[in-house]
Amino acid sequence: MKCYMCALEGKDTDAVSICVVCGMGLCMDHVIREEVEIWEGGFPLPSKKLEKTLPKILCKWCYEAYKSS
């Protein structure tokens, strides 16, 4: 699979990842890795934030949509 963003710029670059939302192939220059907090537990005990986060691979457009929501 090739990087879609690079293809738009007229370049031919191999993709190293896929946007989890839209499925776009992305190279290392165009991939955005978002760290999502994980909370454990809840009522009747306060929930705890786990030290480990959940990685979320996104393209630029989905990342912007994700941040604006």
């Binding site: 909370w39 537990g41 809840g42 009522f43 009747p44 005990l45 306060p46 929930s47 705890k48 934030k49």
Partner: protein, 246 residues
């Protein structure tokens, strides 16, 4: 985890709304029935208009508030909003010793502010007619009987809490509805026996408000609403752990 200070603030806000909405319903019922002649000494006005329906309405005001608060702040502080629940969770080692006192202090402060807020919202009739929704044993109910009734009511509350929320086998998302229904059911039945506190903070607030604002001094009854709920909740937690284990 969210800081203890913020969690205590969540408990304070939760207990405030529990007491404001719940005891507010009792106060308003007494104000509505003011002037009507109760048919007997077992009837203080709540029940004069709709029989057990009056208590059902009050129970639902408490129960619905508990349910929505569980969804609102359950993940923040645990939404105990009841010292008996905090102590019961501590007794089964689910809640840290160092956080018990701050939680209970926050709950008691929240309940007290709610009682004063009710007096400010409704006026002095809330104190003189409504008694700020304070609980006391009804005509013919003895001290030990009242402790027993409060114990049984809180036992059911804690048993449902254990089964619907603490137990990892519980269906997720139903704790608020289950516990809210339980509170409403318990208050409907035992309301006209002890006032149905099942929560020491819920009784503390109106007692303090009545004392300071010139209402009845009911503090001699406070041990009923401390011993009954705490013993009932701790027993329920211990027994649930026993009956649910393999």
């Amino acid at each position: 985890m969210i800081s203890l200070k913020k969690r205590c603030l969540a408990e304070l806000i939760g207990t405030f709304f529990l007491v404001y909405i719940g005891t507010g319903a009792a106060i308003i019922t007494l104000l509505i029935s003011k002037g009507s002649a109760p048919p007997n000494a077992f009837n203080i006005g709540i029940g004069a208009l709709g029989g057990l329906g009056d208590w059902f309405a009050i129970g639902m005001a408490f129960g619905l508030t508990v349910a929505v608060l569980i969804y609102a702040i359950g993940h923040i502080s645990g939404c105990h909003i009841n010292p008996a629940v905090t102590l019961a969770l501590w007794a089964i080692k689910k809640f840290p010793t160092g956080e018990v006192a701050p939680y209970i202090i926050a709950q008691v402060i929240g309940a007290s502010i709610a009682s004063f807020a009710l007096a400010a919202s409704v006026g002095m009739d809330a104190v003189t007619v409504g008694g700020l929704g304070a609980t006391a044993p009804f005509e013919g109910i003895g001290y030990l009987q009242a402790i027993l009734v409060e114990m049984i009511g809180t036992f059911l509350l804690m048993l449902v809490l254990m089964g619907s929320a603490v137990d990892k086998r519980a269906a997720p998302g139903f704790a608020g509805i289950s516990i809210g229904f339980t509170v409403a059911a318990v208050i409907t039945t035992i309301g006209n026996i002890t006032g149905a506190s099942i929560n020491p903070a819920r009784t503390f607030g109106p007692y303090l408000g009545d004392l300071i604002l010139g209402g009845s001094n009911l503090w001699n009854y406070f041990p009923i609403y401390l011993i009954g709920p705490v013993v009932g909740a701790v027993l329920a937690a211990l027994i649930y752990n026993y009956i649910s284990s393999e």
